[in-house]
């Protein structure tokens, strides 16, 4: 089996976390998922601070970002990452309910790598998450410095 790499999931809704995890589990991708419950936690993880201080985290292979989150929203997290020389290369995928054109435009302007709209139909959602996870965690070769899966 190919080495699994860590995924950072930033999602404020507990239920969405559970569903996303279920979808990832169904595709055997759930093992190395780190969950941040808002944008601030996501940045804490990336900068090894706050709740995540002291962990030798390394960079995730992909960041799955919800758009609308308390404190710091997805777009702000993306903006911060893209303006940081160490974080700017980490792949970011928006996973959101919003199909609004303005959100799409803003995300791509800020340099998002992919934009996935969560469908209401759970089976379709599972399929989307499977494809996203499979591509970014397995097919794609991440930038150097990304933490490989520990044995």
């Amino acid at each position: 089996m190919a080495p699994l790499k860590r995924i950072l999931l930033a999602e404020d809704s507990e239920r969405d976390v559970e569903l996303t995890m279920a979808a990832l589990e169904e595709n055997n991708l759930a093992n190395e998922v780190v969950v941040a419950r808002d944008g601030a936690e996501a940045l804490d993880y990336l900068y090894n601070r706050g709740k995540f201080a002291g962990h030798a985290n390394g960079f995730p292979v992909v960041v799955l970002l919800d758009l609308k989150m308390p404190k710091i929203d997805g777009l702000e997290v993306l903006k911060t990452m893209r303006s940081d020389p160490y974080l700017r290369h980490i792949p970011v995928v928006m996973i959101t309910s919003s199909r609004e054109e303005q959100d799409l435009i803003r995300s791509y302007e800020l340099g998002v790598n992919a934009y996935v709209v969560k469908p209401v139909d759970f089976q379709k959602f599972v399929e989307s998450v499977k494809q996203v996870g499979f591509f970014w965690a397995i097919v794609n070769e991440p930038p150097p410095g990304t933490m490989k899966r520990s044995g």
């Binding site: 239920r15 969405d16 279920a22 199909r99 209401v120 759970f122």
Partner: protein, 472 residues
């Protein structure tokens, strides 16, 4: 004939014509009076002279003394205008004449007493009486030429006076007409400026307190009123635009949260139903599993409704990006994209369609809805027939139509067809949310067109929409 000349010329022409006519009449009257008085006084003068000559020549006539008579007549030399004179005896024969060797032809016999004018001369006969007895007749001829000469001179003076008077009248009227014409011209100029430049801030200058002054005041007042109305109108338009913008922003925020927040719980319902099914399928009986299916289906349906509503709201508020669209290739493109929904056999008849000016994405949505409906509602037919065409309405519009031989509809409900979430079929007959035709109507109306439909139960349906050929 004065109607189309400028008011200044009009006033001056009127003035000059009036004063010219008055002057001419005055002169003519004066002249006529002159001629009459002159003639009358000449007749009186001649008859007085005649009486004197008659009185003096009674003796000469009584004694038949020709020399004395000739001498008396010679006294007429003192009046140079008398060109001829003669005395006739009782027999009627010429007795003496003046001048003595006159070449003039005297009347051979005396005629009726009295004077008359003929060919520039005044001539006539007068009785010579003594103690009530007629001794003879005196003839005298007076040359009026000099008098006419004098009249001619006076006429020339009168003409000169008339010319000078008219000139004075001209100069005076040129100055005085300004009193009337200037305010009118000023008003006309302002009115012209207002109508051309739409500048309601200008005001006409008032020249006096007469009727023209009143007119100027009224005109200025009207301008002020229009200016005020204009200003408040602009203000009101600005206010309304602002309110609309706010409402639009609120609507956008609303649809954003609908898009994002309303879908999340539905996703959760569907997701957890699915997890529950996987987790506890064996613990549920048939009925329980059916309930789970219904819950999931309802959540998905609501998701579709929300999505459709969002599309509808986007179609309503998004900017129109008009471009030239080739309708025909768009129709084929849409038809090919809908192939997946086609189950039976369809006989297509697509006429040649014109190029139009429209928002491509929205126009595609119109065709997708109409063609999708035609496919959906004719799927029970074998074969289904779908005809797409366009006619020229003749009043600057294209009228497009999509006709099918499907289940049709009752014309009684035709008004409901284009309403949001209005359906004429149950969802278990034909799936759908009832937003498609509402979208069509909204999009077409935003392009300045109309939508309507014709149908019969089990007799197919035809949907029409018009589009203006040119956009302004």
């Amino acid at each position: 004939m004065l109607q189309n000349i400028p008011i200044q010329r009009k006033l001056m022409t009127a003035n000059l014509l009036t004063s010219g006519a008055v002057l001419l009449l005055t002169c003519l009257a004066f002249f006529a009076y002159e001629v009459l008085t002159f003639r009358q006084s000449t007749v009186e003068k001649l008859s007085t002279l005649g009486k004197i000559i008659s009185a003096n020549s009674t003796a000469a006539l009584a004694f038949d003394d020709r020399d004395a008579a000739t001498e008396i007549l010679a006294a007429l030399k003192a009046e140079p205008h008398i060109v001829a004179a003669g005395l006739y005896g009782t027999t009627g024969k010429l007795f003496a004449q003046y001048p003595v060797n006159s070449p003039a032809a005297f009347p051979s016999a005396p005629e009726q007493d009295g004077y008359h004018f003929e060919r520039g001369h005044l001539a006539g006969f007068q009785p010579v009486m003594q103690s009530g007895r007629r001794l003879g007749t005196l003839y005298m001829e007076y040359n009026m030429g000099a008098m006419y000469e004098q009249l001619w001179q006076r006429g020339k003076i009168a003409a000169l006076v008339m010319v000078v008077s008219l000139l004075t009248a001209y100069l005076l009227s040129r100055t005085l007409q300004k009193q009337i014409s200037m305010p009118i011209l000023a008003l006309a100029e302002i009115a012209n400026a207002v109508s051309k430049q739409r500048d309601f801030s200008v005001r006409a200058v008032k020249f006096g307190e007469d009727e023209l002054g009143l007119l100027t005041d009224a005109f200025n007042q009207m301008l002020a009123e229009i200016q005020k109305l204009n200003a408040t109108l602009e203000e009101r338009v600005r206010e309304r635009t602002g309110q609309l913008e706010i409402a639009n922003k609120e609507l956008e925020a609303f649809s954003y949260s609908v898009s994002h927040d309303l879908r999340a719980p539905l996703r959760h319902v569907d997701g957890f139903v699915d997890l529950l099914r996987k987790q506890s399928a064996e613990k549920l009986d048939e009925r329980g599993r059916r309930y789970l299916d219904i819950i999931a289906a309802s959540a998905r349906q609501m998701g579709t409704l929300i999505d459709d509503l969002l599309v509808f709201s986007r179609m309503s508020r998004g900017d129109l990006r008009r471009a030239k669209v080739a309708s025909e290739s768009l129709v084929h493109e849409v038809r090919d994209a809908l192939q997946g929904e086609i189950h039976g056999r369809i006989v297509w008849k697509v006429d040649s369609l014109p190029q139009v000016e429209a928002d491509t994405a929205m126009f595609r949505q119109v065709w997708a809805n109409l063609i999708g409906n035609a496919i959906k509602y004719s799927r029970t037919r074998d074969p289904a027939e779908i005809e797409i065409g366009c006619t020229d309405s003749g009043n600057g519009e294209f009228v497009f139509f999509v006709r099918d031989n499907g289940v049709g509809f009752d014309m009684q409900y035709v008004d409901k067809l284009f309403g949001v979430f209005q359906r004429l079929h149950r969802a278990d007959e034909f799936e759908g949310t009832g937003i498609g035709l509402a979208n069509v109507r909204r999009i077409v109306s935003r392009h300045g067109g109309r939508t309507w439909a014709e149908g019969r139960v089990d007799g197919g349906a035809t949907f029409f929409f018009s589009l203006p050929k040119t956009t302004n």
